[in-house]
């Protein structure tokens, strides 16, 4: 199919874009279009107007500043993935991005677009929850910072209001003594995850002094696996503690049976992926030490 009729504007500044969004509640921002245009082609979405963000220079670019990586909303996923300074500051980002769709999509898809789209199976939102990142939202006359865990509310639903623009994503750098891993199971490489897990494991004297685990694809939004984290804290990242963490992860898989997988299968995946990612993250933490 082809999209329904809409108006199209490509403003040059965030202020102009915000004004346009405020004047028409059915208007939508257009970023890379890699989710929005196909949904319009299917007529699942029929915005009255598209506010194309491509000419707004202020939304472009990214920088490592101390222990935070600041990413402009319109940064292309592929550009972030290939940036060496970003890879040094937090190699988890490139590992996660390698699983987002395929290169041609990442050439166009933006970081802000993926976060704002907030698919429950998407990898980047899961990474933002795992790392404890934040999202910057601007509206006419104001700006607020929202923690990732408060930002994602439900599948394709976020704390952003229609009059707000996501302007920046802030991702913490990898803390010292910390290993990372992301793994997912999908029907084919490049598909959204049936289940994916992001792990950050900090080791001190052989035991976990900090653990952060988040999963995508298993619930209605990217989810912190708090009980699994608790099982590992203060223990070595293996043996009984790892078994308890893997067991605890099962209960976070709540997505109903769908054409691709049953809830039971997703429970198994969550558990297996926690085992694999924690083990890999712990290995990497030891390598870094």
């Amino acid at each position: 199919m082809k999209p329904a009729l809409f108006a199209y504007v490509a403003p040059q500044s965030v202020e102009e874009a915000l004004e346009l969004l405020a004047s028409d509640e059915m208007a939508r921002p257009l970023a890379g279009g890699q989710s929005l245009i196909p949904t319009m082609n299917f007529r699942i979405a029929a915005p009255s107007a598209l506010v194309d963000l491509r000419r707004i220079g202020a939304l472009n670019g990214h920088a490592v500043e101390g222990d935070v990586i600041r990413v402009g909303a319109m940064t292309r996923q592929r550009d972030l993935e290939r940036d060496e300074a970003v890879q040094r500051a937090n190699p988890l980002i490139a590992e996660v991005l390698g699983n987002v769709a395929h290169i041609v999509i990442r050439n166009r898809g933006t970081v802000g677009g993926s976060i704002a789209h907030a698919d429950a199976a998407a990898e980047l939102p899961c990474m933002l929850v795992a790392t404890g990142g934040t999202v910057v939202a601007r509206r006419a006359g104001g700006e607020r910072t929202i923690a990732a865990e408060d930002f994602f509310l439900f599948h394709m639903t976020t704390a952003l209001e229609a009059v707000e623009l996501l302007t920046e994503v802030r991702i913490p750098a990898l803390p010292p003594h910390t290993g990372y891993a992301f793994q997912e199971v999908a029907r084919r490489h490049g598909d959204y995850a049936l289940a994916g897990v992001c792990a950050l494991v900090t080791l001190k004297d052989g035991v976990c002094s900090a653990v952060r685990l988040a999963a995508c694809g298993v619930a209605s939004k990217p989810t912190r696996l708090a009980e699994a984290e608790a099982a590992l804290l203060g223990a070595p990242p293996e043996g009984e503690a790892l078994a308890r963490a893997a067991e605890a992860a099962r209960d976070y898989a709540t997505a109903a049976d769908d054409r691709q997988a049953s809830t039971d299968y997703r429970r198994d995946l969550a558990s297996a992926l926690v085992r694999r990612t924690v083990t890999k993250a712990a290995d990497r933490a030891r390598e870094r030490a």
């Binding site: 199919m1 082809k2 999209p3 329904a4 009729l5 809409f6 108006a7 199209y8 490509a10 257009l30 279009g33 890699q34 245009i37 196909p38 082609n41 299917f42 598209l50 194309d52 491509r54 769709a101 395929h102 290169i103 041609v104 999509i105 050439n107 166009r108 084919r188 490489h189 490049g190």
Partner: protein
């Protein structure tokens, strides 16, 4: 709900007044008359047959509006090589029998050219990964992968895996 835009395709500037909802792939095919860019799925970015290069990067032209390409430079399969002067990758595709019906081929070539520009010496696994967004329903991909690896090898002066031997057609 129309806009006048200028898009440069294969070095030629096309100025057209188009509906805002016109997709770039339809602009290329219907306004520029360049029908080597194909449509294989329902405009959802699955099949990759519409892949073109925008400012040198591979993009799927079904997920972009023509108005978004205003002022941009685009290369389609027609701009990659000519019958007498095939691009290195086109030559490899021909030698390695990397196509059968040919419907997906232009999209795969436009993707692979960008991929090889970015990946100096890719592994077979990397080539296969790079092709997940391009559906081919004839070849089973083996010859496509071999052709791309061969094109990469010849660029570095390496000796590629030889192409399949020419066989006599069955009587």
């Amino acid at each position: 709900m129309e806009k006048t835009i200028t898009v440069t395709v294969n070095g030629t500037a096309y100025t057209r007044t188009v509906p805002l909802r016109l997709l770039l792939v339809d602009f290329i095919r219907d306004e520029c008359g360049l029908t080597g860019t194909h449509i294989g799925c329902t405009y959802e970015g699955r099949c990759g047959a519409c892949t073109v290069q925008i400012e040198g990067r591979a993009h799927k032209s079904c997920m972009k509006l023509a108005v978004q390409a205003d002022g941009k430079e685009i290369t389609t399969i027609e701009g990659l090589g000519s019958r007498d002067n095939l691009h290195r990758l086109q030559q490899a595709f021909s030698r390695y029998h990397a196509l059968q019906c040919g419907f997906c081929t232009s999209g795969i070539l436009m993707n692979a050219v960008d991929f090889l520009n970015e990946n100096i010496n890719p592994s077979e696994a990397e080539v296969r990964r790079a092709l997940v967004g391009n559906l081919c329903r004839c070849t089973g991909y083996s010859h496509i992968v071999e052709a791309i690896l061969a094109a990469s090898a010849t660029r570095h002066g390496l000796k590629p895996v030889p192409p399949p031997a020419e066989t006599e057609p069955p009587p």
